[in-house]
Amino acid sequence: MPDTLEHEAEQLSALADGELDPNGVARTCAKWQARGPAHATWHAYHLIGDVLRSEDLAGLPRRDYVCLDTLREKLAREPVIFAPGTSVRSSAAVGWARKPWAALSAVAAGFGAVAVVLIVLREPAGDSEFRAEKSAGPGASAVAANYSSAASRPGSAPQALFADGRLVRDARLDRYLDAHKQFSGVSALGVPSTFLRGATSDASNR
């Protein structure tokens, strides 16, 4: 097997196990074509896993391919989904979180999240339109820019969900808050925040 083909098949194998880095995932998805070589390899690898676990899953690929063809036609008629935000923990994400600089990045993301929350909460209840122009900080302006570009994409859905003029869900805000929550026990000083809270209460009790 040529080196390039072997590398790319190995990427598919790692992706099957959730062990491929985000850039690798993006490249692999970009190369995906129904009934293409990547499809055949992906199908074979998963058929192997299914059969190892249960022999009654040893179906023929012909039927699988026909089912996918039909489904693709139906998916093409569906509205385009756009709800970005890492809501699911992957092995790659867990590996990222263990890196020493990840805590500082997460704290910085936390400050960004606070800035975004302040923007969102400042919107009046009756205002059903998210005003992306308002921003309170660098993190928020990056979010605002992304909202603007997302809104201009044809067929794209808004990232923020409103009901009766009130913000119900904001996928990007969720991501910032999740990143902040993951390290909620560590303060910006690197000291556990519980220790600081304890010191504050001790001081107030004197």
Binding site: M1, E6, E8, A9, E10, S13, A14, L15, A16, D17, G18, E19, P22, V25, A26, C29, A30, K31, W32, G36, P37, A38, A40, T41, W42, A44, Y45, H46, L47, I48, G49, D50, V51, L52, S54, L57, A58, G59, L60, P61, D64, C67, L68, L71, L75, E78, I81, F82, A83, P84, T86, S87, V88, R89, S90, S91, A92, A93, A157, A171
Partner: protein
């Protein structure tokens, strides 16, 4: 859910608008979902349609998927609901016979044989499925001990690369390589049966 979800990356890409990522998830779970639906619905000719509906409903609902359970657990629930909904709709249809309405009984050997033949699978197709299973098992026997152990721990025991590395006392990169080489060795034996040509990987 504590363990990382192997489908997380593809789910997130789907949520970001990449329908190809969702197609990859469909290929991954199609057989399992069809088997689940087939166990709930007596008329196996309905299975492909209910499976299609399951995946369409999952695609529409994926923006709300928060990762509190594994993706496959969530998809499984959608499949069960889709099958139940189909059974309810059949009940309302006056042209449907009683035998079609009853949920499948695994102890009913007669109906099982009838269903195997009625879903379009000829005896030749069933034989081909058995050949695929035999080829996988045979290929496993020819693997080296370390490759067989790696793919067994991953596919049957469901361990992560990190856990396998600890068990096999080797780096994670070695685990990744061994699992890939095992899969590729088995796939080489399967490809003649699947109708996939040697060069058709990319």
């Amino acid at each position: 859910m504590n363990a990382p979800d192997a489908d997380a990356a593809l789910v997130d890409r789907t949520k970001a608008g990449d329908v190809k990522a969702f197609e990859m998830l469909v290929v991954k779970y199609q057989r399992r979902i069809e088997r689940l639906i087939g166990r709930m619905v007596r008329d196996v000719d309905l299975v492909p349609d209910i499976a299609q509906e399951t995946f369409i409903r999952a695609y529409r609902a994926i923006p709300q998927f928060r990762g509190e359970s594994a993706f496959y657990t969530w998809l499984y629930r959608i499949a069960v609901n889709s099958a139940k909904k189909a059974l309810m709709e059949l009940k309302r249809d006056p042209t449907v016979t009683e035998s079609a309405l009853a949920a499948r009984d695994d102890d009913d050997e007669t109906s099982r044989v009838e269903n195997e033949l009625s879903d379009g699978e000829t005896p030749e197709a069933l034989l081909a499925s058995k050949q695929i299973a035999a080829a996988v098992n045979s290929a496993m026997q020819t693997l080296s001990e370390e490759l067989r152990q790696a793919i067994t721990l991953r596919e049957i025991e469901g361990l992560s690369y990190e856990e396998i590395a600890e068990l096999m006392n080797c780096p994670i990169g070695t685990v990744r390589s061994r699992i890939f080489r095992a899969r590729e060795a088995i796939a080489q034996r399967l490809r003649p049966l699947l109708g996939t040509r040697e060069g058709d990987r990319w």
